[in-house]
């Protein structure tokens, strides 16, 4: 029974069923009390503040954010690709070393990935004080381990039997890796890496805790003070720059060059990365960020064992964990199921473009803003938290789905359409179905991210581990922070094991 279920592309849209309980809860709490504020919010979008000071501050913030994001991103790509190769089973198979080391690296990387960058930031800040490069490290740690996982997974997806047969001809191990594997790895780094750049720009709100400013800080403060016209100035500037970034990335992906001359493509990609690294570094120095400022060590007190023990007993773990898992699952169901359904409603280029602009906004609105907007028309509940997180991540998954679909030809779609099927059905089987496997893989990665982001939705009521983490951090209860982080990591670990199992079954069923 299960096999039949996994065989259909329905698996990607079945999660839409999760929207039913969410809708029931949200509709049940619906009210009109916040309409005036919502009206102000939307009208401000066409009347953003054009005060000279506001614009210059936002632009200055943008420069800082982009420079730091690019620097952190290029370092993460280098480290992530290296660690990704180190934790890929395929490479160990070619070289002929036991896979144990790969699993070990893979699992220990999770320690870095499972912890929210805010925690890394605050922890490093506590130890080293305010220093720009600490902010960069706080971004690099989770990003590079995330990139490492994806690259390792992608390498392991490469059909290895052909490569192993080359080995039988007597070719050296290193040569095989360079000639057969590397050409396949480089484009993975190219596509996935470029997509991470946008994430890095959005994620650089972390700079606010290091006193570095940046556009994320402007955005966050104007949301806190509900200053919508200033907020829209930052949002529009961010929107335009991300739009330009996306176009630039498309140009620099150089698909033609990849097909024609893979060697040149690899060298060019590498140089591009080095140029990013160098220019962002220089630009930071020009912006007056003292990137190489000396640091001093301020070791915090060692956490006492008995404090840890007492925290184990005082926090309501089962409730916290179950709430967190519930929010995460609901949010990732929404994020996974909505993009294909939205695209299927009426497949046309025009609507596709409109939807993809909507998705840019979904990604740009931080979850605290989305949950505020939702709360202006419905009562607080777990569903609101899930929806706020789901909407943002829908923007991310939708973008990946659309990009992948547009890379393929329309042959299957046209073929099904000419048989007399409706456009919806043709889209579903002709365009979406070939993408399901890839799409599901990304959606599983996204679940990881959503889990960590549950940290930011305290506004719906102190819910889950995420809120408890904020509470413990603001009480400087490091023993609780330690325990909660450990639980986050364990949930990620269990989730990863389950998803690996699921992916294997998906692979098997698709091969059948």
């Amino acid at each position: 029974m299960k096999k039949i279920f996994l065989n259909t592309p329905l698996i990607a849209i079945i999660p839409i069923l999760a929207i039913i309980p969410i809708l029931i809860q949200v509709l049940h709490g619906i009210h009109l009390g916040g309409l005036n504020i919502l009206y102000k919010f939307f009208t401000s979008s066409v009347h953003p503040s054009i005060d000279k000071l506001v614009i210059t501050n936002s632009l200055d913030g943008l420069k800082i954010t982009f420079s730091i994001a690019t620097l952190a991103w290029s370092i993460s790509i280098l480290i992530g690709s290296f660690l990704g190769c180190l934790s890929s089973y395929t490479i160990y198979k070619i070289i002929g070393i036991p896979k144990l080391l790969a699993s070990l690296i893979r699992r220990s990387l999770m320690l870095f990935r499972g912890t929210h960058e805010l925690i890394w930031g605050l922890l490093l800040l506590q130890i080293f004080g305010l220093a720009p490069w600490i902010a960069i490290i706080a971004l690099v740690i989770p990003y590079s381990s995330l990139i490492a996982r994806i690259i390792a997974d992608k390498i392991d997806e490469i059909e290895i039997n052909n490569i192993l047969s080359i080995q039988k001809t007597g070719a050296g191990k290193l040569e095989i890796i360079i000639t057969s594997l590397l050409p396949k790895i480089i484009p993975i780094i190219g596509t996935y890496g470029s997509y991470r750049l946008e994430c890095a720009v959005r994620g650089a709100t972390l700079l606010g805790i290091f006193g570095l400013g940046g556009i994320g800080t402007e955005l966050q403060l104007s949301i806190l003070s509900l200053n919508f016209s200033e907020m829209w100035t930052s949002l529009w500037i961010l929107f335009i720059s991300i739009f330009i970034l996306e176009k630039l990335v498309q140009i620099f992906q150089m698909p033609r060059l990849y097909i024609n001359n893979i060697g040149l493509y690899s060298i060019m990609s590498f140089f591009l990365l080095l140029i990013c690294l160098y220019t962002s570094f220089i630009s930071l120095i020009n912006l007056g960020v003292n990137i190489l400022s000396p640091i001093t060590l301020h070791l915090p007190e060692i956490i006492k064992y008995e404090n840890i023990l007492s925290s184990v007993n005082t926090l309501p773990w089962i409730k916290l964990i179950s709430e967190t898992i519930l929010i995460t699952l609901l949010a990732s169901f929404v994020a996974t199921a909505l993009p294909p359904i939205l695209l299927m409603i009426y497949p046309s280029k025009l609507l596709e473009n409109a939807i993809s602009i909507l998705w840019v906004f979904c990604r740009l609105f931080p979850p605290p803003l989305t949950s505020l907007l939702l709360l202006l028309c419905t009562k607080p509940s777990i569903s609101v938290a899930a929806l706020a997180l789901g909407i943002q991540n829908m923007g991310v998954l939708g973008r990946i789905l659309l990009e992948n679909i547009n890379k393929e030809t329309d042959i299957a779609f046209d073929a099904i359409n000419t048989t007399g099927c409706t456009k919806h059905v043709s889209w579903f089987y002709g365009k979406f179905t070939p993408q399901v496997k890839k799409y599901m893989t990304y959606s599983i990665y996204r679940t990881d991210v959503i889990l960590r982001e549950t940290v930011v939705v305290g506004v719906v009521g102190g819910v889950g581990l995420g809120w408890q983490l904020q509470e413990s951090l603001s009480s400087f209860a490091w023993e609780e922070v330690l325990l909660i982080t450990a639980v986050f990591i364990s949930i990620t670990l269990i989730g990863e094991r389950l998803s690996e199992g699921l992916q294997k079954r998906l692979n098997n069923s698709f091969q059948q």
Partner: protein
């Protein structure tokens, strides 16, 4: 041989990097100021740039403003000695002072000696104004929101008064309160009706009333808390060693001497919402510390 020369190059590169890094510490000492965020960015940027200019000129030192926008980050940065003078809230100031023994409370605004929070409700709830603290028990079972979890006026003191009235936070609807994240958000969420009751800084409430941001047909104050001390300037213990004898005292005098007769100083005081700054002392914050410990915000 080649390796050796590469090694040498690498070493010299590292040395260069370190000397570049070291240069910062050789330059003249800078007084780094910061503030916890409770205002919109342009106001915050304007306020602290003017203040940095004013202090710098008067004290003859370079003053830099670093916008640390997270409560915990500001406390941690103060502990690590990265911030010299910080405008803290009551609770965060005590947290910072306990983590950095010897640090000194310099000054507070005239309004900070008798600070209040206000409990507000959506008119549709029909909750009547409360005359005494026991009256807070009507809030049991209501949808209730605090502001930010570290806020003295938006969380700590209100929670303390609620507990005095025997209302635990688990008595609210679903057994938990919300944390709107800021005073302004609390007003928005209560006036929309998402939350039935909320609590916030009285100063923010008054400012919003004055600027016409509050729909008084929708949201009203039902109770004002007794007075308590709140915001204050906290300075590092070693300013005298780093900037010269009696620097801390000079700094304190400078802050206190700000008055509305000079245009720039007037602007600073207005942005702070104060008539003047007055001297403040560590001991004034003893109650906040006790309450912080009782509610688990200070460990």
């Amino acid at each position: 041989m080649i390796y050796k020369s590469i090694n040498k190059k690498l070493i010299s590169l590292f040395l260069l990097l370190f000397t570049l890094g070291g240069q910062g510490s050789l330059s003249q000492e800078k007084l780094v100021i910061s503030a916890i965020p409770d205002q919109y960015p342009q106001k915050l940027n304007r306020l602290y740039t003017i203040l940095a200019d004013e202090l710098g000129e008067e004290l003859g030192t370079e003053v830099e403003y670093k916008p640390v926008i997270n409560y915990q980050a500001a406390v941690s940065a103060f502990r690590a000695g990265s911030l010299d003078l910080v405008w803290f809230g009551g609770l965060t100031g005590v947290q910072a002072r306990l983590q950095k023994p010897g640090s000194v409370v310099l000054a507070q605004r005239d309004i900070d000696t008798k600070f209040h929070s206000v409990f507000i409700t959506n008119k549709n709830t029909g909750i009547k104004p409360i005359n005494n603290i026991e009256g807070l028990s009507v809030l049991k079972g209501k949808r209730f929101t605090f502001g930010s979890e570290s806020s003295t006026s938006g969380r700590l003191m209100p929670q303390y008064f609620l507990e005095q009235a025997k209302v635990e936070i688990s008595d609210f609807k679903w057994g938990r309160p919300g944390f709107s994240g800021s005073h302004d958000k609390t007003i928005a969420l209560v006036s929309s009706g998402s939350y039935e009751v909320g609590v916030l800084n009285e100063q923010v409430w008054k400012d919003n009333l004055k600027s016409g941001n509050i729909d008084t047909a929708k949201v009203v104050v039902i109770w004002k808390t007794p007075a308590y001390v709140d915001y204050h300037w906290l300075a590092q213990p070693d300013l005298d060693e780093r900037f010269g004898r009696h620097f801390t005292q000079k700094l304190q005098e400078k802050i206190i001497s700000l008055n509305k007769s000079k245009p720039r100083q007037k602007q600073i005081l207005e942005l702070f919402g104060a008539n003047k700054f007055i001297k403040a002392y560590n001991y004034q914050y003893k109650d906040i510390e006790t309450i912080g410990r009782k509610l688990g915000k200070i460990r």
